[in-house]
């Protein structure tokens, strides 16, 4: 029965046009980044960095490299926006529209209703992240063809070069970790959505939390507090690109994220169970 209910929840999510705005926007952004990367000045700058390291730019300025750059630049900005938008709506929009009232007339527990909503929004997050990563890869390969992977992420202090196959494996590993790390955004949005507030407020507060966290994290004064910032933990996925992958450190980051998500879900659960629903 729960599978049927989850199917219904997914149908509601994926039958709405606004659900696809995120997908369409990402496609547009990928094309835009690809165009930017194609500008002579940008190409020259990347070529120079690769050649200064003693590697042939023709081999490493490839589809894989472009895909990684697209992923790195677009996912946090737009990913946060669309995941917060969908997660912020998931409960509060139904409260506002009155459809949650209709659901609560049924002999189903509030916990079950919340569970199917949570699973649906987490699945949406996973699908969107993989969509971004795979379309970025397809766009990069179509544009520049196969080749080595060149990684230059100064914030994370990573500089690495891989052949096509090991590069592709790293890219897919990074995507898998990214898709899990990004689940924190829908968890924050989901928590806000369970509070007694309008959907727009739930989305705005979720985004504000993320942006504030990102800004503070990047202020040198707070360098020593960096591990306490959520977005710092969420960038753990990039570290899979290091030559010697620091799996222990990555695992620690994910344990932190898991703890934050679990706390938010438990709080959301408690709020939802205790709330009165009345227009």
């Amino acid at each position: 029965m729960i599978w049927k209910q989850l199917q219904g929840e997914l149908l509601k999510l994926f039958a709405r046009k606004r659900t696809y705005i995120g997908f369409v926007a990402f496609l547009a952004v990928e094309v835009l980044i690809l165009l930017l990367l194609n500008l002579p000045a940008v190409r020259k700058a990347i070529t120079r960095v690769i050649e200064q390291a003693g590697y042939p730019a023709s081999e490493y300025l490839s589809g894989l490299t472009l895909a990684f750059l697209i992923l790195l630049w677009s996912v946090f900005l737009l990913g946060s926006l669309y995941l917060a938008l969908v997660a912020g709506d998931v409960v509060s929009k139904e409260v506002e529209d009155g459809t949650l009232r209709m659901m609560l007339c049924r002999p189903v527990t509030r916990g079950r209703i919340l569970l199917i909503k949570l699973v649906a929004v987490l699945l949406y997050s996973l699908v969107l992240t993989w969509f971004i990563a795979l379309t970025a890869l397809a766009a990069g390969l179509l544009h520049s063809g196969a080749g080595g992977l060149f990684i230059f992420a100064p914030m994370e202090r990573i500089f690495a070069l891989y052949g096509f196959v090991p590069g592709l494996v790293r890219y897919l590993q990074a995507t898998a970790l990214l898709s899990i790390a990004l689940l924190t955004i829908p968890c924050i949005g989901f928590f806000m959505s369970c509070l007694n507030m309008k959907p727009a407020a739930a989305t705005t507060i979720t985004l504000s939390v993320l942006f504030l966290d990102t800004i503070l994290k990047n202020i040198p004064y707070f360098e020593s507090l960096r591990p306490w910032f959520v977005t710092a933990r969420m960038t753990a996925w990039v570290r899979v690109m290091e030559y010697n992958v620091p799996w222990e450190a990555i695992a620690e980051d994910f344990v932190w994220l898991f703890a934050i998500n679990a706390t938010l879900i438990i709080l959301a659960w408690q709020v939802f169970l205790r709330r009165d629903f009345k227009s």
Binding site: M1, R106, P107, T109, D276
Partner: protein, 293 residues
């Protein structure tokens, strides 16, 4: 079928339900009446587990809604406040989704209910193109699925045109007469309630001020209309007998006074009577008397 036991609910400092208790037996059509803010929706909300009562409980089929929600609501259908649907989905998909939260239902049963509410030709259309009346019918269809024994209808005729109201009334009557359902409904349309309901409960400022067959209430049984040549003399004669003035030229006789004695007293005092007849007040008269502003 459903028993409300001393439910109390406060919203901030306002008492929305004050120890309300009543019971509805199987096969009844029961009306819940009251002004806006009287506590009707709060009562429904607690009965459906949307609101948490501060004290008291609601038992449906012997199960406490608060502690055994699934069992209590297992055979309950409801329209609570304004019916809302996913506008971008068809009527059929909406029904499928809401029913999935109750349990499995056969396609035959879905078709049966859709036919019962008269939506068979438009069930595949997106709900956004439905008229208000069609939405209400869809709401009733979801309340009738999968197979309830009790339905709670909060203002089921709200916003419907006269034809729609008539149709809904007939449908509710059929649900009881042909399908044996118990119906608890709230409405502002007293004429509809009068025609439909076996018993009513009247709420006023969160309190239950009446529950039962309104026709049997004292003020209904003892109301008489007197037409005579000298109304003030008539009043002077009847007052010592315990007769009270009521609205619109009517009087209320105490249960101990035989109407024949009242007539005798008037005639022997020389009052010329043109009419002395029992008045059957409407539910509206009764309601206004019990819950009048």
């Amino acid at each position: 079928m459903i028993r409300i036991e001393k439910i109390t609910k406060r919203f901030g400092g306002r008492l929305a339900a004050d120890a309300i208790s009543f019971e509805v037996a199987g096969g009844e059509i029961f009306g819940l009446l009251g002004h806006n803010g009287a506590g009707k929706s709060t009562t429904f909300g607690i009965a459906l587990g949307h609101l948490h009562a501060d004290s008291g409980r609601v038992l449906i089929g012997g199960h406490d809604v608060a502690s055994a929600r699934s069992e209590a609501l297992g055979r309950v259908g409801a329209i609570y406040e304004a019916a809302a649907f996913y506008d971008y989905l068809s009527g059929w998909k909406n029904l499928e989704f809401f029913v999935s939260l109750s349990g499995p239902v056969s396609r035959r049963r879905l078709d049966e209910v859709i036919e019962l509410v008269g939506l068979e030709e438009r069930i595949g259309d997106p709900v956004r193109v439905y008229s208000h009346g069609m939405r209400q019918r869809l709401a009733l269809a979801q309340a009738l699925l999968p197979d309830p024994r009790l339905i709670l209808l909060d203002e089921p005729t709200e916003g419907l045109d006269p034809a729609g109201i008539h149709e809904m009334r007939e449908l509710i009557r059929r649900l009881r007469d042909e399908h044996g359902l118990t119906v608890v409904l709230s409405s502002h349309l007293l004429h509809e309630v009068e025609q439909l309901c076996d018993r009513v409960a009247i709420l006023h400022q969160g309190k239950l001020v009446f529950c039962g067959r309104w026709q049997d209430a004292d003020e209904c049984a003892s109301r008489w209309r007197i037409v005579c040549n000298d109304p003030s003399k008539c009043a002077d004669i009847l007052r010592p007998l315990g007769v009270e003035d009521a609205q619109e030229g009517c009087v209320r006789l105490p249960a101990s006074l035989d109407p024949a004695d009242a007539i005798g007293a008037l005639v022997s005092a020389g009052v010329r009577l043109s009419a002395f007849e029992r008045v059957r007040p409407t539910l509206e008269d009764f309601y206004m008397e019990r819950a009048g502003r």
